[in-house]
Symmetry: C2
């Protein structure tokens, strides 16, 4: 650690010299960075109260619902009251999915057992009498895809893959295809229903919902996630040589004329207002919990970080734009654009003015490192940031930022450089998309750490004239 | 530890001398005690497979249900196959309660929020439109009882008391009155509904059900337990100065002509078959989970322990009677007798022949100590037992056995001496009476430890001629 500290100091010294910045301005940038950081760490941020209000007063806020709209109005009012500029709602139409009554039963010689299950978002309703069939189990999406056409005719497919606990959430990305594409793949092979072991970690009996997508000319089939204990129940029956049968019921429904919206607010830049650092999170959440970790905490973190910057004695050089996206959690028939793409389409002419973007959508675990745009890790900017984040307990990652978030992906795909604040996600998937995603899962002190890391990075990025794109063009 | 060990050795030596037992017989009793203990510890017991079958093949088995009957038939078949004698079912009529569809909504300016809640067993249904009202919160049952008559007219009472984590479960006993008597007390003061913070520990969003009782001439009112996170939600609204309103709905129902049953099996005593050591557990469980900790593990532990004794080269001097009770979890209108009292009434003439009793109904946590009948702690019997339980990791408690279990309480009330194997219950109330009470909460190695402690104690008690009543008559 000692050696690294010395190197960092040297880099900072060289960095400021090379950048040719006047000493006074440099000090000022840095002193404000220290101020926002330390005010966040000392609990001056409003993140906790924002998160508590959002999850307590509004509660769950599924994409396209009245509650999601209420959350947007609440957020816009907060942003205006805090003094942000250009606060607006960007509305868009969507098809909303509504969970109905649902029931998954394991059948057998001793009578039916109710399994803990949750329909996947986008899963169609069953007929009134439900859908029953024999379970055919697959160890993964790939195993299901290897089954021939018609192999599942009249059957119910089950993917048993377990989610692996990882700090950075890559376990989820590795298994996600089972949920997003499994039902469609099963339907194409004649299945009348789909089950999966929840994409979740932890030892409690929660089903983890999430969206699934249907493509091609095969109709959608009812699809459910099972709690781990209930997937185990089926596994034990199968291990005992039993042919396992289940019955599925769901009265899910769709609203074709729903609306969602992004909430946008700005801190106009002092010198280069046309250059935008865009920071995002999403207001919608799954219907089961109150969306504290996904993504109320993100809303609270980016809003509180921006508010801290707004309250400093001078504004940053560049504009900071906060975008609280709508309808992040869902997919749409015919790939109808939702919050992320609606934003990008509205800004097609000025994508090039977006100098940097980042998103907070991985809970409120400790931020252990920051990933920067390609080529930035060895720059004076990174060295300065690394020094400033030392007291926050956050390193500069040796990895460039990748998969920085669903909502900013369309911007990233169009060449906007992105950063990522890497939360410890070891426990994130215990709660993710379950009824257990509630306020009590957030540690206030850690939330303050998150705000400190965000405020420091965003301030530095907005108060510099570095071209973050440079590194991405080798 | 060294000193204590020496004392124990001395006591054993004195003990055998005082008891005047022939050395050969003593060795034989002890060598069989060592055998059952070590066979259990080495995993020879069938407890795990019994528990897995019961919770996987039958699953949940509420009192008075077809599933409870299936569990009784399954248990009787197992006991017969194992070679137990006099295997029989003792049937009795009861009123069974059935959970229906249920829904608790927190009302407010942003629209209703669904709370995680579970109707208490015995809670009546609501009208079709539900019951709505303002919440009046009380910190405890005592605070509610201090409210004057009519204080709650048209209101919904809420008890906010938190369950304290204790190793021995006394936290539950201290708070239990809120559930068992709270709804009746609230009804007497005019309340139209009752809510309580679940009697549960742990940080997950589970409602903990359980039975409630109504007495007197006030009609029962709909009563629900809220998950801790949802009780917190109401607390935060109240702390913000809001008058909190909720709406309750339940379509619970009753079957007046239901049946339950005890399952009884014996190892007939070799010398004194008329003297009975009765060991119990209960087959029914709450409807939400599969009853692994409550009380599938008890069924598995006492059955496996007795089976180990049955398989030894000679039978014990006294009869060991295994009773797997029905309908332990519930209460009945007009105090109609259930499994425990049905057993006692059937044995009114021979209660005196029950020399000792104990029950396994506190999960499958580590058994850290054994409580013996009053006056037994300083006897050679206790010293021998203490030595034998050393390798099991179980001490002799300095406390006499009290509150040894619901099912054997009527026997204890009639003077039958009782013992208690004290499980570490620190985590028991995270799962108790929730959907999360499933097989994965049991550690196989700890279950084997439980069987070892049980088998050792029960063998010793059944192979001695000690009068366990002596100590209880000071």
């Amino acid at each position: 650690m000692g050696k690294r500290f010395c190197c960092a100091i040297t880099l900072i010294a060289i960095g400021w010299a090379i950048a040719g910045l006047a000493a006074a301005a440099a000090t000022d940038t840095q002193s404000i960075a220290v101020a926002v950081r330390d005010q966040a760490l000392s609990g001056q941020s409003v993140a906790w109260s924002l998160l508590s209000e959002l999850t307590t007063d509004i509660g769950t806020r599924p994409a396209g619902s009245a509650a999601e709209r209420a959350a947007a109005d609440w957020a816009a009012a907060k942003l205006r009251a805090f003094g942000f500029s250009n606060v607006s709602l960007q509305q868009f139409p969507m098809v909303a999915w509504h969970r109905g009554i649902e029931h998954v039963e394991l059948l057998g010689a001793y009578g039916p057992q109710t399994l803990a299950a949750a329909a996947l978002g986008g899963s169609p309703p069953t007929p009134a009498q439900g859908v029953a069939g024999e379970v055919v189990a697959f160890s993964s999406l790939q195993a299901l895809q290897a089954a021939p056409a018609e192999a599942l005719a009249g059957k119910i497919a089950l993917i048993t893959r377990k989610l692996v606990v990882t700090q950075d959430g890559t376990g989820y990305l590795a298994a996600l295809g089972g949920r997003s594409r499994g039902p469609a793949e099963a339907a194409q092979r004649g299945a009348v229903g789909f089950l999966m072991r929840s994409l979740g970690t932890g030892g409690h009996r929660f089903a983890h919902t999430g969206s699934t997508a249907y493509a091609g000319d095969t109709g959608p089939i009812p699809a459910f996630a099972l709690a781990a204990a209930d997937a185990d129940q089926i596994e034990r029956r199968r291990a005992a040589g039993e042919k396992v049968h289940v019955r599925l019921f769901s009265s899910a429904s769709f609203s074709k004329d729903a609306q969602s919206q992004n909430v946008i607010a700005e801190i106009p830049g002092r010198d280069r207002p046309e250059e935008v650092v865009l920071i995002g999170a999403h207001l919608d959440c799954w219907d089961l919990g109150t969306g504290a970790i996904d993504d109320g905490s993100g809303v609270a973190i980016v809003t509180a970080a921006a508010k801290l910057i707004l309250e400093q004695p001078r504004r940053p050089r560049r504009t900071i734009r906060v975008v609280l996206f709508g309808a992040e959690e869902v997919t749409q028939p015919h790939a109808q654009p939702l919050g992320d793409k609606v934003y990008v389409r509205a800004h097609a002419a000025d994508i090039g003015s977006h100098v940097l973007t980042g998103e907070s959508d991985f809970g409120a675990g400790w931020i252990y490192s920051v990933s920067l745009p390609r080529g930035l890790a060895d720059t004076p900017f990174a060295a300065t940031l690394g020094e400033l984040l030392g007291p926050v307990g956050t390193d500069i990652s040796k990895w460039d930022a990748e998969h920085t978030g669903t909502d900013v992906k369309p911007l990233v795909d169009l060449g906007v450089p992105s950063f990522k604040l890497n939360h410890d996600g070891s426990r994130y998937f215990e709660y993710h998309h379950t009824v257990d995603d509630t306020l009590d899962k957030i540690e206030p002190a850690t939330l303050s750490q998150n705000v400190a890391a965000w405020a420091t990075l965003v301030w530095l990025a907005a108060d510099t004239d570095i071209n973050f794109r440079m590194g991405s063009q080798p």
